[in-house]
Amino acid sequence: MDKAFEIQKQVRDNVKTLETYLTDLQNWEAEMKRKEAALNGEFEQDLPPVRSKIKRDKPVVVSKKPEKRISSSDYQSWEKFDVDKACEEIDMAEVGPVSLDSKKSQAAKQEKLREEAQYEKERGNAFVRQDKLDEAISCYSRAIELVKDDAIYFANRGLCYLKKDSLHQAETDCSEAIRLDPTYVKAFQRRATARERLGSLRAASQDLNEVLKLEPHNLAAKRQLETIKIRMGTKGLKSKCSPSSTPTIENNPMIKPKPKLQPKIIELPDEPAKTELSPLDKWREGIGERITVITPVNKPPHLRSKRPLKSIAIQEIPLSELSPKRPATRMKIIEIENNLERGDTNNNDSNKTGDAEMVDNKGKGDSSPESVKLITDIRVNEKRDCVKNMTPPLTSVQFMAEWKYLKGNDAARSDYLSVIDPSKIPTIFENALESDVLSDVLRILHQYTDKFKEKTVSAYLRGLCTVKRFSALAMFLSSSDKQVLTNLLQHCKTAENASDDEIQDLKNKYEI
């Protein structure tokens, strides 16, 4: 009975709740409709950006489901499986995609910076051309800020400072450029100029020697070196008479500080007064040597104060004092030794001594200009020497410079030719081959055929005729040239076993 009542109650209850629910529902329907009608209008929302836009440089690859093993029976997949790639991926995973990514982006950034710096440099160059040095300097400085390891920007700024007579800044800039690129000839030259004008003649001459090492035929550098040597010579003489203590044999810069130190040590006990004048100490140290000659100075400071005006000249003395005992000739030797140094390393010892002798001869020859023949001989030797050390040119300009330099020395020229890879000829000359050079080349090929055994004359001939606009050059070949050519072709045929087709082809090309 109780149970039945309970069930009845529950059913009634349920019906009741349902009824209320349904009336609720009806009310809700009406309300919803009203609400919906009021809903028109703008709905402004502050939405976060599209995912792909934010995630652009997220490292993780999106389109990958986690790695699944390829089941051993899935042969098709295994066939497609790239083992190398998988190994690479594992290796990469160790590095981590993040670092890889950042590296990449860093490289891109660097590239961008470089571009910007290049742009600044161009602007700077334009300013230099307009003689607006300050603007140019600021441009280069910006370029340097962007890219700190490019020697060109430093060297260019150095030039600007040089032009502005800011010699110290010029020197430091050039030094920086040299540090970055130890083969940067212009930087050496600029530093030499700066140092020369600063009075550091020895340093300047070292720089110029460096230049000549890199570019043996740099006339400007040679001339500058001459003038510096002359200046050094005079200075040296001047200084020689003053300090008796300076050892005469000393050319070695290593010993340079010693004479400086000695007087200092002596001076200190001699002059206790010096300690009182601490601000002037430096000055005195700088001019120590001169003081030893002129003084036991006990002058009151105000009397001495006039002298420092000349102290700049005095600072140079230690340098010039080191200048050679045998001024000019000795320097020559250094220069040529440099030449030797530049030479290839397989020069054996005996060769070297021989060269050194020649060099000595040369030095003498220079000093006694009447023996012209000797000089020319030596020059020829020197040239030959140079040729041995010659590297094949990369451009027609380099080639022409060397070619002109070797004028009158056909043997050397032939050597020079022989270092050139015949297949490179078209790229070297581009379209700058001239008819007189061509005929010279042909003549030398003909004259020294045996030097071209290795690379074969025919290869050279082929190389030459592939130079741009060769057909035009061929038209202007003189009859003698053609005679030379026919001889050469004959040589090709007999000595080098060139095929008939090849010969015929060359004949056509050279219009014989």
């Binding site: 629910y21 529902l25 709905f43 502050d46 939405l47 997220k58 489901k65 390829i70």
Partner: protein, 357 residues
Amino acid sequence: MEDLETPQIITHIENNLNHSLFDCKWVPCSAKFVVIGSLPKGSGTIELFEINSGEAKKIKEIERPNSFKCGTFGASNDVERKLATGDFKGTLEIWDLEKSCQVYITKEHTDIINSIDGMGGNTMNCGAPEIVTGSRDGTVKVWDPRQRGKPVANMQPMKGETKRDCWTVAFGNSFSDTERIVMAGYDNGDLKMFDLRTMSLRWECNLKNGVCSVEFDRKDIPMNKIVATTLEGKFHVFDVRTQNPRKGFAQVLDNSSKSGTIWVARHLPQNRDLFVTCAGNGQVSLWKYQYPEQRVRTDDKGVASGVPGKLQRLQRMVISSQPINALDWNRDHTGLAIATAYDQCIRVLITTKLNLH
């Protein structure tokens, strides 16, 4: 007297339509709903119904050459209320129902889009509006309606791997502008959790049977629970608050009902611990997840792992002779739901006394 608190599930309105139905969704902030299906001739329909004093009245119909499979309002705000649909050919479309025209169309999937979910349309500070689609072509793609043509994320099997049919997708964990997680269930029983913030796979497991439906209890909170339903009448509830690096998530499995495939599980918007499952025998079951006393346990090494709770069935009711393939709770009225079934009927269901649980 706990019987007095037992909810009742009542079919309020039953409407027979003469074609297959695949999905149904309430139009937000209204007493209207859309039904997505296909006509016998193979064309797709979107029908808009309105509840009017105990009757569902059709007020609009859109017909398209390709059958629609699924739809969502999740990526749209409550004013525009744009419906995103996926169809049998793999096309994703977004509809302006007022004007009956598409505002977005893209066909990046090569096969049927089985499942769609949307997020971020109307809740503030829970991320960009995004749509996720899962397709038979094996891929899961995430879309932003503001970016045309291309998905913003694409989860696909590696080359050489067999492509599994993706049956279900769901958003969740979207409690900030950056955090968001996509769950995807596959026909081979794989259940995968993709983290969209880090664009990586956060977790995966295999449920042995094909995963028919997966849903977070809430989308816009730090992820709390997932229900994943499978073939063979089983469903899993995962406590996803605590992920153990070794064991993953704590889960509770229910295979008590021999009701065939569980097609869909849907959490009550008003109470996240209640959810309903719709089975292949036309039965809807209302479940309550009971949390354990302690949700987290730390082992001797100090590593936290979750503790599974218990499932309590509150009610069950067979409402259809055929499988119920879709169900949607009304956001604004507790206990109101629509369901579509393969008997070509659309039903408005009322569940009472839900507020007592």
